[in-house]
């Protein structure tokens, strides 16, 4: 049986002694293969790569350094953007929440409630009509900002907790919502807001 490729490689590289492969002595084919393998290893050694200019290495290191420092920038910006977005989102959410509370808090109690589920009692306080809040510019601003808010926006903001008035609003059909909107606008007009 002829020598296997890995055996011939070991013999050609000298990591295995020829004496340990008695087959070589009696097989001309394997001896030829071994000789050719050694010759090709010697020929392949001529395929040396030309060295670049000595000046190249500093230039190369500078290029890598530049590329690596540029690589850092997006990571930093990735980690810093939530610092801006999160506070903005928090403020927007607070505006939505207060605005909804104000609007629902002004609903006329004489108006019958509508909706598939019984509404939870409105626990919010009508802050604008509270004498303690009179002249509070911040509250006025919030009321103005939220006056055009639609139910979908509130729903998307995740503000409608189950059992709350907001939750009931988000479960109204189109006609019910239009009616509620009309009533709220009417109420706001009465209050002079």
């Amino acid at each position: 049986m002829h020598l296997q490729p890995d055996e011939l490689v070991d013999l050609a590289e000298g990591t295995r002694a020829e004496a340990s492969a008695p087959h070589l002595a009696e097989c001309a084919v394997c001896r030829l293969q071994l000789a050719e393998l050694r010759a090709m290893m010697s020929a392949a050694a001529d395929g040396d790569v030309p060295e670049p200019s000595p000046l190249f290495w500093d230039h190369f290191s500078a290029r890598v350094r530049q590329a690596v420092s540029a690589e850092d920038a997006p990571r930093r910006s990735f980690w810093t953007w939530p610092r801006v977005v999160i506070p903005v989102a928090a403020v927007a959410t607070a505006v939505l929440a207060v605005g909804l509370t104000l609007n629902t808090g002004r609903a006329d109690p004489s108006v019958p409630t509508v909706g598939p589920a019984p509404l939870a009692p409105v626990a919010s306080v009508d802050l604008l009509s509270d004498p303690r809040s009179a002249g509070d510019t911040a509250l006025t601003l919030v009321a103005e900002l939220s006056s055009d808010m639609d139910v979908d926006t509130a729903h998307e903001a995740g503000l409608a907790a189950r059992g709350s008035a907001e939750h009931a609003i988000t479960h109204m059909n189109g006609a019910e919502l239009r009616e509620l909107q009309r009533l709220l606008q009417e109420e706001l007009a009465h209050s002079g807001a």
Partner: protein, 195 residues
């Protein structure tokens, strides 16, 4: 051939004395200069590896930069189970094979070969050696991918069969078989004149 390495500016005296693992740790700890030291230690080997795949200075330079950039990105994944050199070779082989399969390597120009340090050779010897070298590199470029990687890493980067197996994710036996077949194919391409 004499290795030409330029000493990098010592960013921090202590860094150059660190071993591979410590350099990686320093890098991950935010010391950017530690990566400079890694680049300095391995840039020549990485460049020569890349050159053997693309056969021109421009592409070899770009690929080498890409190798280090990928290494930087993946530094956290380096666990020290293999040497940093083996890890970089693995990245280098992947980068080169991806490039080679996407782009046909162009042949070497005279300008590509102008930096050969041939001070000890006569002009005719140098010319002959250049021609042989170009033929051998061209033949190596025709080898199947795994045979080419195995031959390059074994012949020119003096990696052990085990290290090559680590780079390729194969067995030592498979590496030896690839090496054997690579040399056989090289003989077919170069003919008897190479012997």
């Amino acid at each position: 051939m004499r290795t030409v390495t330029q000493p990098m500016r010592p960013s921090e005296p202590a860094l150059v004395d660190l071993d591979e693992r410590e350099l990686v740790e320093a890098c991950l700890g935010g010391q950017a200069a530690a990566f400079d030291v890694i680049v300095e230690r391995h840039r020549r080997a990485v460049y020569l590896l890349c050159y053997r795949f693309v056969s021109n200075h421009e592409d070899a330079s770009d690929l080498s930069q890409d190798v280090f950039l990928r290494a930087y990105r993946g530094l956290r994944s380096f666990r020290g189970q293999s040497s940093l050199a083996t890890w970089l070779y693995r990245i280098g082989v992947n980068v080169c094979l991806n490039r080679v399969s996407a782009k046909k390597p162009h042949s070497e120009s005279i300008a590509d070969r102008q930096f050969v340090d041939a001070r000890a050779e006569s002009a005719s010897d140098r010319l002959l050696k250049d021609e042989r070298g170009t033929r051998v590199r061209a033949a190596i470029a025709q080898l199947p991918r795994k045979q080419r990687v195995t031959l390059v890493l074994r012949m020119y980067h003096e990696m052990s069969h085990q290290e090559i197996a680590d780079v390729l994710g194969s067995s030592v036996g498979a590496v030896k078989a690839n090496f054997f077949h690579a040399l056989g194919n090289l003989k077919k391409m170069l003919g008897d004149e190479a012997l």
